[in-house]
């Protein structure tokens, strides 16, 4: 186990370096932050641009910039944002918990919803409940998240004036964004749980579990579920990773000061330091999640050896 962790740690370093290198390089091909800074009405000359590039350090050769970034990272110094010069670590420090919390709550809600529903659909395959769950889950998918979000806002914030339409604050502010995301996640998860369960429900050990006189919920939630948990864990892991990096739309609609918004704004402004930091943090989290998933495999199914 220890050896495995060390190995994975080294691999993680490789991943972080590879991705930051890739991203830093690629993003520099798509636009110049100096030009972006003049957006909004400034007339600029080549001199102005050169001056600002020098101030930002983007006039240096790419590899120098990159190695500066790496050096900074070793001391946990991600530099300053090109937009306004705030410490990147401050921005990240605020955004990461915001996103994590939201992602976590949404995931938890979605899992708590989708497992029972999925199992219900699987055990009543072909019956009305199954059909209803399946069709309902599709509705969550066919309309984009902003659509759903806007509808919720119209209903709960404007019509009933129950929940704040946006912003991060108390528990109340989590309800709509988490619910919107959970609905979309659940749409997929329910069907995934259902399918995975169908694959195991016919196994002999499920029958044996029943022969023991176990309650149906024990049979389903303990014996069957654990046996089909591998694809579910995999997918939940993927989803969670996806949530961390990809909930821009939800974050924007609910004006959530998270990592997605930060990344989006950084891309729009070609704010390299912020972007590099976001990517670093994100890749560390992803590597971490995937590591946990791989460890979970071994715990869930003893036949899989963690290598």
């Amino acid at each position: 186990m220890a050896g495995f962790l060390v190995k994975r740690f080294l691999q993680a370093i490789f991943v972080v370096i590879a991705i930051t290198l890739l991203v830093s390089f690629a993003i520099r091909l798509t636009g110049d932050p100096a030009v972006t800074m003049f957006q909004g009405g400034g007339s600029m000359t080549e001199d102005d641009l050169a001056r600002i590039r020098a101030a930002l350090g983007t006039d240096k050769p790419f590899l120098v910039q990159y190695s500066d970034f790496l050096k900074g990272m070793l001391t946990l110094d991600f530099g300053r944002s090109f937009v306004g010069g705030t410490q990147v670590s401050t921005l990240i420090g605020k955004a990461v918990p915001a996103t994590l919390m939201l992602a976590f709550v949404s995931m938890a809600v979605s899992i708590a919803l989708s497992i029972p529903l999925g199992i219900m659909a699987a055990t009543r395959k072909g019956k009305g409940v199954d059909q209803a769950i399946r069709i309902f889950s599709l509705i969550g998918l066919s309309f984009p998240n902003f659509w759903l979000a806007t509808m919720l806002v119209l209903l709960f914030s404007i019509t009933f004036n129950l929940l704040p339409p946006s912003g991060m604050g108390g528990i109340q502010s989590y309800i709509m964004p988490a619910f919107t995301m959970a609905v979309i996640l659940t749409a997929t998860n329910v069907r995934l749980v259902r399918t995975a369960m169908l694959d195991t429900l016919q196994s002999q050990y499920v029958m044996v579990a029943r022969a023991k006189g176990l309650s149906e919920s024990k049979v389903l939630y303990k014996h069957a579920l654990r046996n089909c948990a591998i694809p579910l864990i995999t997918y939940f892991g993927l989803q969670f990773g996806g949530l961390l990096g990809g909930i821009v739309v939800i974050e924007r609609v609910f004006n959530w000061p998270g990592l997605g918004t930060l990344a989006f704004d950084a891309v729009a402004a070609r704010d390299y330091p912020v972007l590099q930091a976001v990517i670093t943090v994100l890749s560390l989290m992803i590597v971490g999640i995937n590591l946990l998933v791989d460890i979970a495999y071994g715990l869930v199914d003893p036949r899989i050896r963690t290598e």
Binding site: G31, Q39, G42, S43, D48, G167, R252, V253
Partner: protein, 482 residues
């Protein structure tokens, strides 16, 4: 008394006046900082921190008499030193890091004459300078504060002389201000101001509808949502003509649009009035040149080319353009209004036998790469804010050869005209030349001028005394709430 909450579409990241060009900065900072001059919602230039000024040395030196008994929020007095410090900083090392400096390059140095008198020495006369002193980079900053606390601290904890003083700032979330009781113009009527950064139009409107935001600052409310606000008994739409203009510029170098006849034909093929009336729901005005009606250099007399599809077809025929010829329109992908407008333009062009395709780009890519490199289609979107409300600001960048936004056109006559008006301090003469430029450009049909859009504010009816400024620079000291 009372608290006013505003939604602003962007977080400028830093509150330092020299760091940014964003209107979102000005929407907040106009309440914190002040310049030597001030331009209110009526667009008239009036004294600000300077009580008066006079031009000396044929416009190469301006002498300011400063207002007395003014202090910064931290108690530091405002005086000539502060002015000098401000401009030294702007033009020195610190200013070099930001974009604002480029606006003030005409300033050579600032000399302190006495505590409340300063001289600004210019390298060349700059007719727009006084206007520029009312905005952005020329905001007067507290020298001691900055020296003591450092530049980084100042970025996030701004101190100025304005009616409201800074309380707290949370990146990407919002900024809070409170009344500055010692404001020289008298304490503001509101006790608290909160700006929330909301990027999503629907969200901003929802917050307004939910009563959690009192004013939505443009540019964010989409035309399509105006009826929503109108329908709400507690809300109203306040709109004023703004500085923003939209045009579709032609590739005047290659392809069919290299021919001015074709360009004119295209302009005449598009019914801009209908576009303004329907797509913009009247929240804008047709333009003949690439400037708003408020702009210095705007020519009342100059009428846009009429909508005349028949004439257009004829011109096209004369130019030898076969029906079915295709052309591409490049636009900013995230500009929803332009998205619709471009589609309408395409359909108008269809009617005269031109097949237009639309290619959306990510804004940065379009601005950084496609336009400057001359990789556009036959037409491409140009959008300009022009906060100085002076045609020069736009025209020079747009039409002078070698400028970034002008990848195709190299016209000596135009270059000369543009250069000739720059040092003139004679307003009338300058205005004449600017009008001439406008007419020349219109005649050459360098662009398809579309419209000048209004600045649209969504305002709660509990807000009183709010006068919507065209340039987003809201000064809220007279506003009250119920």
């Amino acid at each position: 008394e009372g608290k006013l909450t505003l939604s602003s579409s962007q977080d400028p990241g830093s509150w330092d006046p020299i760091d940014t060009f964003l209107v979102a900065w000005a929407a907040v900072s106009t309440n914190i900082f002040e310049g030597l001059t001030y331009r209110g919602p009526d667009m008239e230039l009036v004294p600000g921190l300077a009580e008066s000024w006079e031009e000396l040395d044929e416009g190469k030196r301006i002498r300011f008499k400063l207002r007395q008994n003014v202090s910064f929020h931290n108690g530091e007095p405002f005086n000539a030193e502060a002015v000098k410090y401000t401009f030294d900083r702007l033009l020195g090392e610190e200013g070099a890091k930001g974009p604002q400096r480029s606006n003030y390059v005409a300033v050579e140095s600032v000399e302190v004459i006495d505590d409340y008198t300063v001289d600004m020495k210019l390298s060349t006369p700059d007719p727009v300078l006084l206007t520029k002193l009312a905005g952005y980079g020329a905001m007067i900053v507290p020298p001691k504060y900055i020296e003591e606390k450092g530049e980084d601290f100042f970025n996030l904890n701004p101190v100025g002389t304005g009616p409201f003083k800074f309380v707290s700032y949370e990146p990407k979330v919002g900024i809070k201000l409170e009344a500055f009781q010692d404001y020289w113009g008298g304490a503001p009527k509101l006790s608290e101001l909160e700006y929330r950064f909301i990027t999503e139009p629907a969200t901003a409107v929802a917050e307004l509808q939910a009563g959690r935001v009192d004013i939505v600052i443009p540019p964010i409310i989409p035309i399509g949502m105006i009826p929503v606000i109108d329908a709400d008994p507690n809300l109203e739409v306040v709109s004023v003509p703004g500085p923003t203009v939209d045009a579709l510029r032609f590739n005047t170098r290659d392809g069919i649009t290299a021919d001015p006849k074709v360009r004119k034909a295209i302009i005449m093929a598009v019914d801009r009035k209908t576009i303004v009336d329907s797509i913009l729901a009247g929240q804008g005005a047709e333009i003949a040149t690439f400037q708003s009606a408020l702009s210095f250099g705007h020519d009342e007399e100059l009428a846009p080319l009429p909508y005349d599809p028949e004439a257009s077809k004829k011109l096209l025929k004369e130019a030898g353009v076969e029906p079915g010829e295709s052309l591409q329109i490049d636009i900013r992908g995230n500009d929803a209004t332009m998205n619709e407008v471009a589609q309408v333009v395409a359909s108008y062009l269809q009617m005269v036998g031109l097949n237009a395709t639309i290619k959306p780009y990510e804004t940065n890519v379009l601005l950084n790469d496609i336009i400057p490199q001359g990789k556009t289609g036959a037409m491409f979107q140009q959008k300009w804010g022009g906060w100085t409300f002076d045609y020069d600001n736009t025209a020079y960048s747009m039409y002078h050869s070698g400028e970034k936004w002008n990848p195709y056109e190299k016209d000596e006559t135009l270059d000369k005209l543009l250069e000739s008006q720059r040092p003139l301090t004679d307003r009338a003469e300058r205005e004449r030349i600017l009008k001439e430029i406008g007419a020349y450009v219109a005649d050459r049909a360098l662009e398809l001028p579309l419209y000048n859009t209004n600045a649209i504010y969504g305002v709660s009816k509990r807000v009183n005394n709010f006068i919507a400024p065209p340039d987003n620079r809201l000064k809220l000291d007279d506003v009250t709430v119920e």
